[in-house]
């Protein structure tokens, strides 16, 4: 009885991982644990943070901020997409706003949010919001624009009202774009919020990584990087993949 994950292992990938671990161990032995801690040291650190429960404290803090910032971005993006669907003028405005936001660097929002919100939770939340908003919004607007006009015409022929057309035609055809946008947006949120956490807060993966660097515990920098990667892959597997699978049941 081989468990399912064993079947899913890709042997060539496994070989590459083992080779990389070997190289990693060699380089680590040559340059010392401050520059590159050995794989064993990192593994021990990972076990430690899980055993002490520290991993939940910081991951939880990061996720809570992401939930607020990214959740807010999704809500606002939905409103923008709705406006873009109802009015052509609004669609043009949303397009331009999204283009400008997309062109704005993360660093701008980090600096601005520190000025506006001080050293508080709201700095990473606001940064996450501003960075993920254009990603989710542009996906949603694209979804709204891609609604099959022939289906809407069919709706007109059979005199479906605006609401029926919206719920039966527009929403289902936009949903895949929303999920795709949320998937990319969430990944971005995780990457961005930890950067913002370097400043001003005393919890979160970003904070603890920077702190580990300051106290010269390089292996913990690697441990937390690993935690971040695992969180990202887990949300994809647990949240987004089943969602998109459920949505394409009719394909």
């Amino acid at each position: 009885m081989t468990p399912r994950w064993v079947d899913r292992l890709h042997l060539p990938t496994l070989a590459v991982v083992i080779a990389l671990l070997g190289v990693w161990a060699l380089v680590s032995a040559k340059y010392g644990a401050y520059v590159l801690p050995s794989p064993a040291l990192v593994a021990r650190g990972l076990v430690d943070v899980v055993v002490t429960g520290e991993v939940w404290k910081h991951t939880g803090a990061s996720l809570a901020r992401i939930l607020v910032g990214f959740g807010g971005a999704v809500v606002v993006a939905l409103l923008l997409a709705l406006a873009a669907f109802v009015s052509r003028t609004a669609r043009g405005v949303v397009h331009d706003v999204v283009a400008v936001l997309n062109a704005t660097s993360v660093f701008v929002w980090i600096v601005v949010s520190i000025i506006w919100f001080g050293l508080s939770n709201w700095a990473p939340i606001f940064t996450t919001f501003m960075i993920t908003l254009p990603v989710v919004a542009s996906n949603l607007v694209e979804g709204v624009e891609s609604v099959d006009r022939r289906l809407l015409e069919m709706g007109d022929v059979y005199r479906l009202g605006g609401r029926a057309k919206f719920t039966a035609i527009v929403v289902p055809s936009t949903l895949p774009y929303l999920i795709a946008g949320m998937k990319v947006g969430f990944g971005l949120a995780l990457k961005v919020s930890v950067v913002a956490e370097i400043f001003g807060v005393t919890t979160g993966i970003g904070y603890i990584m920077n702190y580990s660097r300051e106290i010269l515990a390089t292996q913990m920098v690697f441990v937390w990087a690993l935690v971040m990667i695992l969180v990202m892959m887990a949300t994809d597997r647990i949240v987004f993949d089943p969602l998109s699978r459920r949505m394409s049941a009719w394909r």
Partner: protein, 252 residues
Amino acid sequence: MAVKLVVDGVGKDFLIPVIDHVSFTVDAGDFFCLLGPNGCGKTTLLRIIGGIEPATRGRVTLDGEAIVAHQPHERKVGVVFQEDRLLPWKTIRDNVALVLRPLRLAPGERTARVARYLDLVGLRGFEDYYPARVSGGMRQRAVIARALAIEPDVLLMDEPFGALDAQNRRIMQREIRRIWRETGRTIVFVTHSIEESVEVGTTLVMLSARPSRIRALIRNDDPGQRVKLVDDLDTMIMEEVERQQGASDGRT
């Protein structure tokens, strides 16, 4: 027989005149076929009749009521488009039920009607399938059930079997003829296939090349004359095609 549909001097310009001037009447219960060379505006004419697209001139009345694009009217028009236009995320049953929503039927009546018309087109047992899971012929049956379920005053069909293979086409032609007989609906059917029109229609109208007018209006009620009718219509359509090519050659 009672007149159902009146098309009176209808024309349409897209920069150049596409439909010049077309007038005819369709009797209640007729199976009316619009024929013509490619690009003569058959589909456009059907869309004007359905109130989907505005006419440049002329008027259309259904049971005496004017049908004008984008304006509400009391008549019910069922349309079968060239593509199926089923919602891929809804089952066949829900696709049919959707168009009954504006009719505000009692819930029981609504369910019964969906079942009745899916039965009529031979889709019993496939109600819970998504469109992508059934064949093109079955999707077309579902579309016909959807159009009939509103119990339309007129059923408009725009090359409904164009995307089917030859065998399915033959089957569906026989099926639509049966469905027409069983429901007694008035059908306006656009096709470019002469054989198809002679197979299914009771009245055939041949449109001329662009800008189109009526070239011939023929009753198709003598099965013994079908072979000759196909020949005559073939000759006619080739003349129109040549005329159209001649016209465009002259222009270039």
